[in-house]
Amino acid sequence: MQNVLAIWQREMKAYFVSPIAYVVLTLWLLLSGLFFYAILTNVIQSTMMQSQFGPGSQPVDVPGIVTRGFFGTMSVVLLFMIPMLTMGLFAEEKKRGTMELLLTTPVGHLHAMMGKFLASTTFLLIMLAGTWVTISALFKYGQPDWKPILGAYLGLLLYGEGLLAAGLFISTLTENQIVSGVITFGVSLVLWLIDSFSSGASGAAKDVLSYLSVIGHLDDFIKGVIDTTHVIFYLSFAFVGLFLTYRSLESMRWRS
């Protein structure tokens, strides 16, 4: 445990001495502000248009629509930011030769992996906490339902964990962090496209594609419904990623 904490601590410091953390955080906060504003004005405009059609139309849940739109968009943004958090985790370690330090001290690959996964999770939590700045505006000017908001945060966290584990695995495959980042980015892109394909497909293909769509599983969370199938989906996604990472690290020590 002490080893995991030591790795976690070193990795957190490394995030914040490199420009990556600041670029990612700035971009993330900027985009969350922009999208929030865009979605909010859009929703307000359309409700005003609707109310012009006179009475009888149903009351519109403005905060609810804004929350859904906002978290839906941010989940796509996250998909493309995660590669920047994971690309260097093992790739840099291999390039600098510090893998030789970690693997020849009592740390070993399991602790190294856990420490790094925890550090990237911590960074994800910081990013999610950052969106509260914009979301809290809803509470200032209205009474939004807190259930979809909590659900969305939980969903994004689980979804992020899956992506982080996948990125962590990819970073064990190369000693070039750019290559690792680009591959992770490509994988994210495919995961994102699966979602659009699934809406176009039909029959069994549609079922498979929509099950594989990482973003699709977020929908219920954002609606405030916490369904265990989705929780299990994300947890197994993260587990597979971590398992592959572990095997990949271990394979360096296999007898050929």
Partner: protein, 313 residues
């Protein structure tokens, strides 16, 4: 303390280490000598549990490096060929990090780090960023890292590479002071370093162990004859004949040049004879000028070149 038996490591079928066996006793300093690509780093990586052997076994303090790797890793300090440094950290925070992952109790960490910095003369750069240090300082930080947690066994891959002469001297005496309490394996290309610091030498070439002995033993073993170097003023050919006629002399080689200048001669004599007195007498009684006379001992360098080239023939 370290037992290596029939160790073999193949990379894609090509053997980088081929059936090497040796033992290192507690408190001994063993030097690893061999040309580039001989397999020194590979052997060290296996001993430190970084990579597994293809065949054979290695034990450190009685624990197998493959079966019981954690116990081995707890007991070794390792300086890899490229010092494993995090360029964005300061020297001090890096050493604290390494002490932590090596399991040094937090109460001792500070003194351990201070001590390691002191021994490697890096106290003056403790707050500097590692990435901005010069090569020699980086090497010293790497060395300091290996000393942390006071490991029983130290495995140092070319510890003095990139250091200035003063530091080379200090690092050598540091290593020598470890003898007795620590077991050390070090690799190097600097041959005098081996005779200065090591109790025993292993010479490997092309993955195979070709000699293991004390530095002195190796020099003796390889020496086919005693050699004496002379500088004599006199007629070259006459001198050569006179020297060759002394009983016990096997061959005489003369330096080319004119008779007007003093000439250098190399005399090879039978092993375990000392003909210096006879030679001096012979030269002086002829009335020639004996300007210089000295016994030439075989250097480790000669031994090394001898062994490594003999292997290839």
């Amino acid at each position: 303390m370290i037992e290596v038996e029939h160790l073999t490591k193949a990379y894609n079928g090509r053997k980088a280490v081929d059936d090497i066996s040796f033992r290192v006793e507690k408190g001994e300093i063993l030097g690893f000598l061999g040309p580039n690509g001989a397999g020194k780093t590979t052997t060290m990586r296996i001993l430190t549990c970084y990579m597994p052997a293809t065949d054979g076994t290695a034990r450190v303090a009685g624990f197998d490096v493959f079966e019981n790797s954690l116990e081995v890793r707890k007991r070794i300090g390792y300086l890899p060929e490229n010092p494993p440094l995090y360029p964005e950290m300061t020297v001090q925070s890096y050493l604290h990090f390494v002490a932590k992952i090596k399991g040094t109790p937090s109460a001792q960490r500070k003194t351990q780090v201070e001590d390691a910095m002191d021994r490697c003369s890096i106290t003056d750069v403790r707050d500097r960023i590692i990435g901005k240090l010069s090569k020699g300082y980086k090497q010293r930080v790497g060395l300091a890292q290996s000393l942390l947690n006071n490991p029983e066994v130290l495995i140092l891959d070319e510890p003095t590479i990139g250091l200035d002469p003063k530091q080379i001297f200090e690092v050598r005496s540091l290593i020598k002071n470890l003898a007795g309490t620590h077991t050390v394996i070090l690799s190097t290309h600097i041959l005098p370093e081996v005779s200065m610091t090591c109790n025993r030498v292993v010479i490997i070439n092309d993955g195979r162990l070709i000699a293991i002995d004390t530095p002195q033993g190796l020099a003796n073993q390889q020496k086919g004859a005693e050699r004496i170097a002379l500088l004599i003023e006199g007629p070259r050919e006459a001198v050569r004949q006179k020297l060759a006629s002394i009983p016990g002399v096997m061959s005489v080689q003369a330096e080319a040049g004119s008779d007007a200048q003093p000439a250098g001669f190399t005399v090879e004599c039978k092993l375990n004879t000392d003909l210096r007195r006879d030679i001096a007498n012979a030269v002086v009684t002829q009335g020639w000028g004996l300007l210089e006379l000295r016994g030439v001992s075989m250097s480790l360098e000669d031994v090394f070149i001898n062994l490594v080239t003999k292997e290839e023939v």
